[in-house]
């Protein structure tokens, strides 16, 4: 397995950006209009990390359109990657780690799909994947690093080394990753797409700058004045963003720092279903939580107001 030159072609990526309008105008739209910008075969990078600030509302809306042949990448891939596998939407998963977390053990879906060769999993070290997005965010084809050298991971993506032109030392040349689409969930934005994130930033800002098309959901849409009062907190400028959707609880049942906590019991129920019935259980889950609810409000209603309020209470407690 080696990566496609398209992933690190910085000149093509720059041309694509130069041909794109960089509007500071209105970005607010609907979830469906946002994900309509995704084409079959695209590489989509998801923001957040594991079950933190996952753009789940965008992922669900995307899957409702029954996409095909996507490549998806994320630093630590959680069960949104399993959904994409079982939905038949992906040809490749790029990540450093995939599962839900320590208490839930090995992912049976990953085992089924990767061991059979149905969906290849391209593994990088966590930093290397971060530097792939950062190299792209910087507009260059690679970044030098001291990680991953000497490991089996070098061969997975066909990584190369360079001899440092100054010291002569051998360095890993981490290839850039320019995704077609970035899907991100943030705390707040104004209607022009200027985005602010609270708590850990994960890799979202790099991914936004690396991608050709940037789709964002925000917990809160604030006034232009609010952003201008705290511009130091803006991590993604509006002219980068193509579509913005107001989606409170847009990561739920994953967490959103300071706003709501994750729902480990929900994850356990999901995994328990897979343990008992395998991949068909994920298909049932998709019917219930992804294909079934016509709107985000209908989706949230499956959990109920009490659960949402409790997650919010727990989330706020963890930052006070």
């Amino acid at each position: 397995m080696t990566i496609s030159p398209r992933e690190y072609d910085f000149q093509a990526a720059r041309l694509r950006l130069e041909q794109k309008p960089k509007s500071s105008g209105e970005k607010l739209t609907t979830l469906d209009d946002a994900v309509a910008r995704v084409s079959d075969g695209d590489h989509i990078a998801f923001g957040g990390c594991l079950f933190s600030r996952t753009p789940l509302a965008l992922v669900r809306q995307l899957l409702r359109r029954r996409p095909k042949s996507l490549t998806i990448s994320r630093n630590l891939m959680c069960y949104e990657g399993e959904w994409c596998m079982v939905a038949g939407a992906v040809d490749k998963v790029v990540t450093s780690w995939m599962g839900i977390g320590l208490p839930w053990g090995l992912s049976k879906i990953v085992r089924e799909y990767v061991e059979s060769g149905r969906v290849p999993m391209e593994e990088w070290s966590h930093l290397a994947l971060g530097l792939r997005y950062r190299a792209a965010a910087m507009g260059v084809s690679f970044l030098p690093s001291l990680t991953m050298l000497g490991s089996g991971l070098m061969d997975v993506g066909g990584s190369k080394t360079i001899d440092c032109p100054y010291t002569g030392e051998k360095l890993l040349a981490v290839p850039a990753l320019f995704p077609d689409v970035a899907m991100l969930h943030v705390h707040r934005a104004d209607r022009f797409g200027n985005c602010q994130i609270d708590g850990y930033p994960h890799m979202d800002a790099d991914i936004a700058k690396a991608a050709a098309t940037v789709l964002v959901t925000a917990e809160e849409i604030v006034s232009e004045e609010e952003i201008r009062l705290h511009p130091d907190r803006t991590v993604i400028p509006g002219f980068i963003v193509d579509a913005l959707v107001h989606v409170p609880y847009g990561s739920y049942p994953h967490e959103c720092y300071g706003l709501y906590d994750a729902e480990p019991d929900h994850f356990s129920g999901y995994v328990e279903g897979i343990t008992q019935r395998g991949a068909p259980s994920v298909q049932e889950y998709l019917e219930r939580y992804v294909y079934g609810p016509a709107t985000h409000a209908e989706y949230l209603a499956l959990f109920g107001e009490a659960a949402l309020a409790d997650a919010s209470r727990r989330g706020r407690e963890l930052v006070t």
Binding site: L50, F51, R111, S145, L146, G150, S151
Partner: protein, 258 residues
């Protein structure tokens, strides 16, 4: 407390032995589970100025007892942190040389401390068992000044060869690690449920340096898939104290990680 103080669990033993390896006024790249317990214990025993850096992009958290994180990328892991620099930048602190010690584990480990968390059997493309992957383990072992491996000691884990090198220890020994461009760090200790290993300074092969109380060299040999080298100055570790166990159980009263 349902568990009497004299009955020590596997994870308690590893956490206590791991904590004793950490020094005050240093930094540690730590994960959830046993490494987190070891780091939290060290801070409360002998290393109050130990700073934890967490994979989720978190510097200097003070985890809340009874509310410990299950992932390195969740709010509990960031509780009362001093800085949230982001994931890439947290690892770059390690690349710059700011991280004295890193903790990792693995499904398979060989005599040179190479670890596999990627795939067992078959090929990379068609493995017999697909494991979750490196996450930050490869970065931690590549970039920290020293690395401590905390693991249960089982024959299937301590293997003649690893099926895939996810995280490079001393590779094929001697100067092979440096030759591949890994200029810094390396695995320094392997803390297991049977004892503590170091690495020979020349050959870079794993060497038994201490046994836990009641364990024999024969026990270690029986549970190791490669030839066990034993230090001339083999010692016995001091069992976990009441104080150490008390702190661990205060940190994790529900015994989620103990």
């Amino acid at each position: 407390m349902s568990v009497p103080a004299n009955s020590v669990t596997v994870n308690e033993l590893l956490a206590v032995m791991g904590s004793r390896e950490l020094k005050d006024n240093t930094t540690v790249f730590t994960g959830v589970g046993t490494p987190m317990m070891a780091s939290g214990l060290a801070q409360r025993m002998h290393a109050p100025r130990l700073t934890m850096v967490i994979e989720g992009g978190i510097v200097g958290p003070r985890w809340k007892p009874g509310s410990l994180p299950i992932s390195t990328n969740e709010m509990r892991a960031a509780y009362r942190a001093q800085m949230l620099p982001g994931i890439t930048d947290a690892f770059l602190l390690a690349q710059r040389g700011f991280l004295d010690v890193g903790f990792i584990g693995g499904a398979q480990i060989d005599r040179y401390g190479n670890l596999n968390t990627t795939a067992i059997g078959g090929s990379y493309d068609r493995p017999k068992v697909r494991l979750p992957g490196s996450g930050g383990a490869n970065d931690i072992i590549s970039l920290c000044r020293a690395v401590i491996i905390l693991t249960a000691h089982e024959k299937r884990r301590f293997s003649e060869t690893v099926d895939f090198i996810t995280s490079p220890g001393w590779l094929e020994g001697r100067d092979s690690r440096r030759k591949r461009g890994l200029l810094f760090g390396g695995v320094s200790r392997v803390v297991t449920t049977l004892g503590i290993f170091g690495f020979d300074a020349e050959s870079r092969r794993m060497r038994l340096e201490a046994l836990h109380a009641g364990v024999t060299v024969e026990d270690v040999r029986t549970n190791t898939g490669f030839e066990v080298q034993v230090s001339d100055t083999l010692t016995t570790t001091k069992p976990p104290s009441e104080e150490e166990l008390g702190i661990l159980r205060m940190l994790d009263p529900a015994r989620q990680f103990l």
